[in-house]
Symmetry: C2
Subunit: 240 residues, 2 copies
């Protein structure tokens, strides 16, 4: 990865206008060299060799240039959710949507790591990032609410699962960023999503079906006479 | 509830300095009458009849006056978590911590409902609120990380559970706010936390989901000696 990793990494992406990429590269070079707060939009456009208006055509504020791919990624993620087959297992689907987001980071490791360092240093960027994360979470929750429509507590379940998926995603993302983008991001995500799948996977787990055949389960009131529980246990174990 | 509910509701709280409460009441009256954006700190101190410096002694920014109780509530919640017995069941403990936060809202229904309406209208306040919510979530996660220290994936589990608890809390809070503070807030929270407890409650056996306290569950291999199962059953039932 070259020292101008942000520029090089993002320059490879043909779908973004070159001027937009040049602005992001110039911005990150300046943020790294002289700090985020001390860098003005004027500095960025001068280094990128474009006019001030070009900056604001792509980025409403200086903060937006720090997260140049999020709008597109959020749109991609929403489109992915909307395009899913109606019988897709909803928790699996939102886990796959989270994978799309992680890929956006993993495609440009040095850019993502630079931004991570920057965001840790600048409280305003942390706040911006929280609002971005919130939008991802709402998009996942909206999808799940539709899928759970008509179920009792469908919207509650949707909100909780969306939050859990985002937390798992962010946990995996942070581990990967702390490895300077060297670890396998998708493996980290799969691992992080395991407790979410286990907790909320909609395989609806009637305990009897989930248990292997050679196991018995006895549920009893704590104050039930022991003899009655043992009788029930014997009957559950069956002959032999 | 009087029409000056914010002032009246909060004026009852003896632990807050009267001047601070007067500033909050003046601010909310002006925000409601003329809008948040058009109200200046100068307007607020004039109505409250205090000097400009008094405002900034209590509130670093105009946004802070909208959330006057959060710093105290966050401190209370953190103290509650730290004060817990070392053998407290961690998921139950964070659910109880969330209840403390909900009570802060429920103690002042008309103030909370006013703020809810205001926050929905002003994007800057939404961003502020997200950063507040994030701090609660981090406090819960920190507690859980300590409690799960040494467990494989303890920090991941901590992050996921904290996010799920916060999502459930916010779901209950929003329902309550949408009822204009008329519903039973704590009942709504207990209900909302049920899927979180079911999913992550550390009682490790699947069929024990949401079991009342007076029920025991024993899982055993079908071919286990009966005496061993009975011994386990007796131990699960506990003394008495």
């Amino acid at each position: 990865m070259s020292s101008s990793g942000a520029a090089a990494g993002r320059g490879d992406r043909t779908e973004q206008p070159p001027m937009r990429d040049a602005l992001v590269a110039a911005a990150f070079r300046l943020f790294t060299e002289q700090g985020y707060e001390r860098t003005t939009v004027g500095d960025i456009v001068t280094l990128a060799g474009v006019g001030r208006r070009s900056f604001f055509r792509y980025f409403p504020t200086k903060e937006d240039v720090v997260f140049p791919d999020h709008e597109r990624c959020l749109a991609d993620m929403t489109a992915f959710l909307d395009a899913g087959p109606g019988d897709a297992e909803p928790v699996t689907r939102v886990c796959d949507a989270a994978r799309l987001v992680l890929r956006m980071y993993a495609e440009n490791p040095s850019f993502s790591v630079q931004r991570y360092r920057l965001t840790k240093q600048v409280p305003g960027l942390r706040a911006y990032e929280l609002s971005v994360v919130w939008r991802y979470e709402r998009a996942l929750a909206r999808y799940l609410r539709e899928r759970f429509a008509g179920h009792p507590d469908g919207s509650l379940r949707a909100d909780v699962i969306a939050a859990a998926v985002v937390a798992a995603h962010n946990n995996a993302l942070r581990s990967w960023l702390r490895s300077d983008g060297r670890d396998d991001a998708e493996a980290a995500l799969d691992h992080a999503l395991t407790p979410v799948r286990e907790a909320f996977g909609t395989v609806p787990v009637a305990p009897s079906r989930a248990l292997p055949e050679d196991v018995v389960v006895v549920v009893a009131r704590r104050d039930a006479p022991l003899w009655r529980v043992v009788r029930e246990l014997e009957s559950a174990r069956g002959p032999g």
